[in-house]
């Protein structure tokens, strides 16, 4: 999502597009938070949290069109945090399933 947003921002129409991207990011954030809080499937929960991070990254990339390059660097840090979460989540889920659970929380 981040490279796509960068590409879109580089192709012009920055102000209108930025407003659109902010709106999409807001929707993505609400959807992600709801998924993480209310779904019971562990993988969907992880995806919900990742969507929350993606929404923040999208905002940062959109804002960096107006505010400078820092936002994109910040977004990369968030992507790394997401990767760390995913690795840890997979490890915990695998261990939990191995210890006799059915994988549902």
């Amino acid at each position: 999502m981040i490279p796509v947003a960068i590409l879109l921002l580089q192709t012009g129409g920055i102000a209108d597009l930025t407003a659109l991207v902010f709106a999409i990011a807001g929707g993505l954030f609400v959807l992600g938070a709801a998924t993480a809080l209310f779904r019971r499937d562990p993988l969907l929960r992880v995806m919900g949290v990742v969507m929350v991070f993606a929404a923040a990254a999208l905002n940062l990339v959109a804002a960096s069109g107006l505010r400078g390059i820092h936002g994109q660097a910040f977004a990369i840090f968030l992507a790394v945090e997401c990767a760390a979460l995913s690795v840890m989540a997979v490890a915990v889920l695998a261990a939990r399933n191995q210890s006799g659970k059915d994988g549902r929380s």
């Binding site: 902010f22 990011a25 807001g26 954030f29 609400v30 992600g32 938070a33 993480a36 809080l37 562990p42 929960r45 992880v46 919900g48 949290v49 929350v52 991070f53 929404a55 923040a56 990254a57 905002n59 940062l60 959109a62 804002a63 107006l66 505010r67 400078g68 820092h70 936002g71 660097a73 910040f74 840090f77 968030l78 945090e81 760390a84 979460l85 840890m88 989540a89 915990v92 889920l93 261990a95 939990r96 191995q98 210890s99 006799g100 659970k101 929380s105």
Partner: protein, 509 residues
């Protein structure tokens, strides 16, 4: 020291600030490597090495403190790592408190009857890495560093919960680790979203600079309503899922129920020491210009936490769960008191003073209770039940007295926990009298829960029923540790003036 072109990228201040953190990371890595080469029976070496890491880190911190002492002005704030980390008085005090808490964690594990996987390499490394993240959270003045360190704390604490039991155990520790991971990461994600909005408005990642821009925009009325709505929703998520302000998350009582006492101390005593400096930096400084949006959230979340915590603690049969709900009740009380300071152009000093007087007292009392819990448990392989306390005064008088002192401090009776509560109630009374009455009422309900436990400990009938229950499994060392914590609670209650002066110095009041 470094010279030439590199001097501008790595200054002496950077070196002094980063040294305690680098030492913790090095010791964590070293313990992991050492653990692969040692037999299981030598695991105590991991604990002693970790304690040595804490000592080195404390020495490096004291070096940074001495370097920032000015002959006329005393302690001067030290900026480092491109202004992302600031060693001010709050950071210094919180770091010292965190180092002490972590030392207590290792001392409990080394000297008490530890569980099988405590003091494994992964356990010790997770504690040190969690501490590293916590120190960075406390000192961070930049959005990126703050988020990265928050994520480190969440990952390290999840790992700690998971590895404190053997990997093939069917125990609930994996569920607990999973819940902590999801709740903590969601909290970090919501905070990341707030920061992304703040960056979009201000173009800054430095917290104070962003706060300045936000204040200017609020004055001119240039902040869109959608921004405020999204920030409110995200702040609700952060407050609801952030571990120490945990009213909405169900993971904490669940995870603490089965966790080892050392893990409980790290979670229940360590996290408030991080969360409140963070809350003050985040809500009391950076987002203070939008206080009109934030205060109703504090009130709602605080009341929810206070009511649910105070009522739920009355119904608990497990001592760890009882203490977890007690901590939720305390978090609600603190949040309500904190909201009382959001009245003027700057946060009112009384509320902040109350928060910082109450949080250390809370941490001391919770750490002491969790450290004492294996000594009063009827079964060595399980955490203590509330029923195990019945007749304790007649079986193990010394432990019963210590537990009474710690519970009394938690309850807000005139010990260490009293003065913070009193100051917070005063601040709340001035700002919102009705809320102060509600907070006082639910504090009384919580007091009933604590008193019930104390009365149960004195119950002679129960002591006769419990004849044949194995006596305490404590060692003199761990008792001495709890005795020290209880003594601190007593002394801080009797002589509150030095504590108050210290907190005022810390907050520049």
């Amino acid at each position: 020291m470094m010279t030439g072109i590199f001097a501008q990228y790595f200054t002496p201040a950077d070196y002094l600030i980063s040294l305690p953190l680098v030492l913790l990371a090095l010791f964590a890595g070293g313990i992991l490597v050492m653990d692969t080469m040692m037999p299981r029976s030598w695991r105590a070496v991991n604990g002693w090495t970790a304690l040595m890491g804490l000592a080195f880190s404390a020495a490096a911190l004291s070096r940074a403190y001495l370097a920032s002492l000015h002959p006329d002005r005393g302690f001067v704030v030290m900026n480092g790592l491109f202004g992302t980390f600031v060693l001010d008085r709050v950071t210094l005090a919180a770091t010292v408190a965190l180092l002490v808490t972590t030392a207590v964690v290792f001392l409990i594990t080394l000297r008490a009857n530890r569980r099988e996987n405590e003091l494994s390499g992964a356990f010790c490394a997770a504690v040190l890495l969690a501490l590293l993240g916590m120190i960075c959270v406390v000192g961070a003045h930049d959005m990126v560093l703050l988020l990265v360190s928050m994520q480190l704390v969440v990952l390290a604490l999840s790992l700690l919960l998971a590895v404190s039991e053997p990997a093939n155990a069917t125990g609930p520790q994996w569920d607990a680790a999973w819940k902590l991971l999801i709740a903590g990461t969601l909290s970090t994600g919501a905070l990341a979203f707030i920061f992304s909005l703040l960056y979009a408005l201000s173009g800054q990642t430095a917290l104070l600079a962003a706060a300045g821009k936000l204040e200017g925009l609020m004055r001119t009325g240039a902040v869109p309503q959608q921004f405020l709505g999204l920030v409110a929703f995200s702040a609700l998520l952060v407050l609801g899922t952030l571990a120490p302000l945990m009213p909405f998350s169900s993971w904490s009582p669940f995870s603490l129920e089965h966790a080892a006492p050392s893990v409980c101390v790290m979670l229940a005593a360590g996290l408030p020491l991080v969360a409140w400096p963070l809350a003050i930096r985040l809500f009391g400084e950076t987002l203070y210009p939008i206080r009109a949006t934030l205060v109703p959230l504090f009130v709602v979340v605080g009341l929810f936490s206070l009511v649910v915590g105070s009522l739920a603690m009355l119904l608990q049969g497990n001592l760890h769960r009882f203490l977890a709900y007690a901590a939720a009740s305390q978090a609600g009380f603190l949040l309500l008191g904190f909201s009382g300071s959001f009245v003027g152009e700057k946060p009112a000093p009384d509320g902040l003073l109350g928060v910082f007087m109450h949080v250390p007292a809370l941490a001391i009392a919770l750490a002491g209770c969790y450290a004492l819990s294996p000594m009063v448990a009827s079964r060595r392989d399980r955490s203590a039940r509330v029923e195990d306390l019945a007749g304790l005064f007649h079986r193990s008088r010394f432990e019963a007295v210590l537990m009474t002192v710690l519970l009394a401090s938690l309850a807000g009776l005139p010990l260490a926990g009293f003065w913070g509560r009193y100051t917070l109630l005063q601040a709340l009374w001035l700002a919102h009298p009705m809320l102060a009455i509600t907070a006082g009422l639910f504090s009384v309900i919580a007091l009933v829960g604590y008193l019930r436990l104390m009365v149960r400990m004195m119950d002679g009938e129960a002591a006769r029923d419990a004849y044949g229950v194995p006596r305490k499994v404590a060692t003199s060392w761990s008792l001495r540790l709890v005795l020290t914590l209880s003594a601190v609670a007593l002394i801080a209650g009797a002589y509150s003036a030095p504590v108050q002066s210290f907190v005022k110095w810390m907050l520049y009041l």
